[in-house]
Symmetry: C2
Subunit: 213 residues, 2 copies
């Protein structure tokens, strides 16, 4: 359990706040797209990017030409969010409408991964997080590609999760109304893989894709 | 078309950048969850929240007790992002792996909606954006609820979209490799609505839910 200070405390609807590492890792592991906020020329900038979690770190990779990566590697303050929407919650009153979601907000500073071996491991962590087993199937990065890629790691030390589940919660008197209430659940599903148009004949769908869920 | 200055220009992979209102509205209308970045006590803070678009404005609603809403209503600089992930792009090389996505980044300042009539309209815009037709079915907000709710609007004047579609793009030599390449497409689907456990008997699933897609 982390120290829960004002920075990470869930202020709105505090009962939805979770601060244990297991809950936080669990949400981070369900997604691979996050948004990152940083200050650039005095204004907040928000950018979506892929990530991987390995142990207690978030790994980001990007081009060495990326404005975000160049800014982040200086060790400036950043805030990172992952949000998964699981449903719409329809209450009897317009006021009590809500959404079911799981989200993590993380504060911290990025550290540049410089050592070549560590960089390759970090890339593998990102790849494994997004699609397990693909790293071993793909052509490995060469020196030129490694040089063009920046790897950053952010420790998961100042983070909180916020989760809403379940049905609507209405004011007592509203339960008498003739208004439907309930949840529309969402699901992100995977459709059949689409082979590259110029894929050479005889190459089968690999295990990473077959096992992807 | 907006003026494309350095603030909104897509820097990484410029050909993926779109600046026309139609493309931006189109992406904003597919989602209802955004992330917002603002500066609080000198550090960037990122918070996910529901939104609605109506004409050239984004509307946000929240509790008057919300730290984010209280900060935003002061007219500070904010950055807003909407990202939709449509697939994983598996290239032959680890280096060229990517994702298909549609995203919008918006810069601006929020304006407080104070007039009661305007506030109700703004709430309806958010509701209509998230689930068309629900506003008319639900019990309308009373004065106490309206007082507890803050409405903000942000003009869509400094925004850019970034979109990646299609299959992988590999280095020429890699097309000879015996490695599968293609796309795993994602789809967000709706599951059967779950009625509230204490829903009164005889209340049918309403049109807003039947027509929801």
């Amino acid at each position: 359990m982390q120290k829960v200070d004002d920075k990470i405390r869930v202020i709105r609807v505090p009962k939805r706040g979770l601060y244990d590492k297991e809950s936080i890792y669990n949400i981070l592991d369900k997604e691979f797209m996050c948004t990152i906020a940083f200050i650039h020329k005095g204004i907040p900038v928000i950018i979506p990017t892929l990530y991987g979690r390995h142990e207690n770190d978030i790994y980001l990779h990007g081009s060495t030409a990326s404005r975000m990566m160049k800014s982040l590697k200086e060790g400036i303050d950043i805030s990172l969010n992952v949000t998964i929407v699981n449903g719409l919650v329809l209450a009897r009153s317009a006021f009590h409408h809500s959404a079911n979601y799981e989200s993590v907000v993380l504060f911290g500073k990025a550290v540049l991964v410089e050592d070549k071996e560590e960089k390759i491991n970090a890339l593998k962590h990102v790849s494994d997080h997004i699609i397990k087993g693909r790293w071993e199937e793909a052509r490995q990065p060469n020196d030129k590609e490694l040089k063009a890629t920046m790897l950053l790691k952010i420790p998961i030390d100042e983070a909180s999760a916020k989760v809403r589940t379940g049905g609507p919660s209405d004011d007592k008197a509203d339960y008498e109304l003739d208004i439907w209430a309930g949840v529309i659940p969402f699901k992100r599903s995977i459709e059949a893989p689409i082979p590259d148009e110029v894929l050479r004949e005889g190459i089968e769908v690999p295990n990473s894709v077959k096992n992807y869920s």
